[in-house]
Amino acid sequence: MRKILVTLLFLLFGTSAFADCNIKSGSINILANDFPALRTFVETSKQCKGSADFKVTHSSEHNKIAVPALTANPSEFSARIAANSSIVPLMNQDLIRPLDDLVKKYGKGIQDSQLITIDGKVMAVAFMANTQHLYYREDVLKDLGIAVPKTYEEVVAASEKIRASGKMQYPYAAAYKAGWNLAEEFVNMFIGHGGEFFKAGGAQPNINNAKGVATLNMLKKLSELSNPDYLTHDSEAIKVEWESGNVALMTLWASRSGTLLDDEGDPNITKATKLTGPATVGGGNIPAATLWWDGFTLAKNRSDADAEATFRSLAHAASNKKMVADAADQAVWLVEGFVPGPKSIGVIEAVKMGAKPYPMLPQMGLMHGALGSEIVEFLQGKESAEQALKDVEAAYISKAKEQGFL
């Protein structure tokens, strides 16, 4: 009798999109990167946890724990907030479950455009878009009569002018920390030059060419205009540099604009901080940037009850109009009802300019890893661009062979 009652109640409330999710059982454990928009997203999903167990791990080291934690059976996490790049290792190892049935059952408010489908199956539900684009100090550029740069060549010229004026010693900043961040800057710049990372139809590397050399040379020029410690600077570190007024031009994630433009820090700098689209490079017409989505995936090695509870609470956030209205300046939400504000300019411009998404290929992680360590010596002036690219390809090939891609 009680069971029937519960089922009836469930049917009654379950169908209404705005009701409490009424989750009765299951346990929810989420692994996510750590930036404000994701915290908001997870907090929103927590509102509808019902009587399920709810845990979350926000960590900038999420990439390092995801695969081992999801390989375990039952896995540590029931959901992983992933992006274009981090969904790939999960797919490679078959660690996430298709969501079609859950989307059909509980995904009422989720728009079709939010669904990441691979081979016809929904593997993730995206809720925000991200990219790296330019930030500039309006006051500094105005003082020196510099127009807002549209290309990286103009960024270099503008930075040199600012340095020559004596206003700032290191006018440019980007996350060049050796490893993932530096490789990401290479990926952006290489795509801006129209490069393809792999030879058509295979996993053979294709970066040791004129486009690769041009990419490296541009990175080097920019690094010379950056703080000499650039190889240790990640997104957080350059944000701090910016807020201390040491930098006038910067390439940074759109998702960081919220904390950059909040009330903390020097109000004059905050007031003069302006956003613009990503720059192009080498006369190309697509931006030297990659488009990213952030979305949630569900672990395969978890019970159906956990998956259901997790999906329902996350879907609540991924279709939450109130959340996107309240946190409109934290991210470019892909959720219905989002009205882009001034802080979304970067992503919107990038999409308009035809930016490409980060390549979602099974072997891309190996290339990214090889780039992160092998191009450092070129930037330090210890080897030629050709040698660095040769090293990247060689390091990649060894790893790809061990991993069975070649």
């Binding site: 695969v67 990441i116 050796a178 993932w180 998404p357 290929l361 890893g369 360590s373 330090q380 090293d391």
Partner: protein, 353 residues
């Protein structure tokens, strides 16, 4: 070997020793021996050939035709051979490890020996090996020397203030390596207290301890000496307490200087302890890892341990074979480094009997 003489008289009977050692021995086999064997086996295997298929992928930015790993096929392969594809010493000799083929090629192609060395040290394994060895070679002797000097000096100060002084001296060892290196990392930042002062001193606004490879190495080595000296100090200080006073007093009466007393009486007495500290230091230093993470020095300094870490976590794709191969080679490396000391100890042990 007068010092060892009392020991030999009190040696445990073999049977007692066996039962005494059994629990430790079992734990060692279980937690050290078996994992090493498992790592060794792992290092001979590579992943199966990836079966990929072309599929349509759609995301908020549009649809493309692209490749994914065919999970059904891969699962079949994995179930048939869970360890992967047998690769023999393939991983050991590939470019990211011993790079035998590349070295042969460099030998034939390069004109001068210098160019050859340049090419070889550009390979990841050798790059890491050179840093690791440099670190060991500079840190170990300095740790021994510094530890010994501190122990001697502290042994000479008044007993009243010895306690607080000892505590202060072992502080670097108490501080977690990661925290210690992070503190120094912030201090040497170009805007930190040390970094900014060096810039002023050298009158070079572009000088950065973190961007120069040599300076990064020096920083890490100095940090290593700072961190490890207390260990040597503590052991030496304890050993100094056992130095018999009669010969020292006799030497003083004979007119021996402080230096002569240390050289001819103290050092020979604590010699076995010096060997012990040298062994432990070498082993520790060969596995240098935390300061590289703490100093964000991956760009300029990589150690063998860092390579293992990198293979396991830095990329989303975990390279078990690579990590296992590097681990095995690290073990071999430590064994080679320790061999001279171990052989010597063994010989002394035999003569003592």
């Amino acid at each position: 070997m007068g010092i060892n003489a009392p020991l030999t008289q009190n040696l445990m009977p073999n049977k007692t020793f066996f039962w005494f050692f059994l629990p430790t021995g079992l734990a060692m086999i279980l937690f050290i021996g078996l994992p090493i064997i498992s790592t060794g086996i792992q290092s001979f295997y590579a992943q199966h050939d990836q079966v990929v298929k072309e599929v349509k992928k759609c995301d908020p930015f549009g649809c493309t035709v692209s490749i994914v790993v065919d999970n059904e096929e891969t699962t079949k392969l994995r179930e048939a051979k869970p360890l992967g594809k047998f690769n023999g010493f393939g991983t050991y000799v590939d470019r990211n490890h011993l790079a035998i083929d590349e070295i042969k090629k460099f030998w034939n192609e390069t004109e001068s020996f210098g160019a050859f060395v340049d090419q070889v040290t550009n390979l990841p394994f050798y790059k890491a090996l050179i840093f690791t060895l440099t670190y060991c070679l500079f840190v170990t002797p300095n740790v021994l020397l510094l530890g010994f000097i501190i122990a001697l000096s502290l042994n000479a100060v008044a007993r009243k203030i010895r306690g607080p002084l000892i505590f202060g001296t072992i502080l670097p060892m108490i501080v977690t390596p990661l925290v210690g290196s992070l503190v120094l990392f912030w201090m040497i930042d170009s805007q930190g207290i040390i970094g900014a002062n060096i810039q002023n001193l050298m009158n070079d606004p572009y000088l950065s301890l973190k961007s120069s490879k040599t300076l990064t190495w020096i920083t890490i080595i100095i940090y290593g000496i700072w961190h490890h000296s207390p260990f040597a100090f503590v052991v030496f200080y304890a050993a100094l307490q056992t130095v018999p006073q009669e010969p020292v007093e006799a030497a003083i009466i004979d007119g021996a200087s402080r230096f002569q007393r240390i050289k001819h009486i103290v050092l020979p007495h604590i010699y076995p302890v010096v060997t012990f500290v040298a062994l432990i230091s070498l082993m520790d230093n060969f596995r240098v890892f935390e300061p590289i993470i703490g100093f964000s020095a991956e760009g300029s300094a990589q150690s063998l341990s860092w390579l293992i870490y990198d293979n396991l976590v830095n990329e989303e794709v975990i390279l078990f074979g690579s990590a296992a191969a590097t681990s095995m080679m690290t073990i071999v490396g430590i064994a080679i480094l320790l061999a001279p000391v171990l052989i010597r100890t063994w010989k002394e042990f035999k003569t003592a009997r």
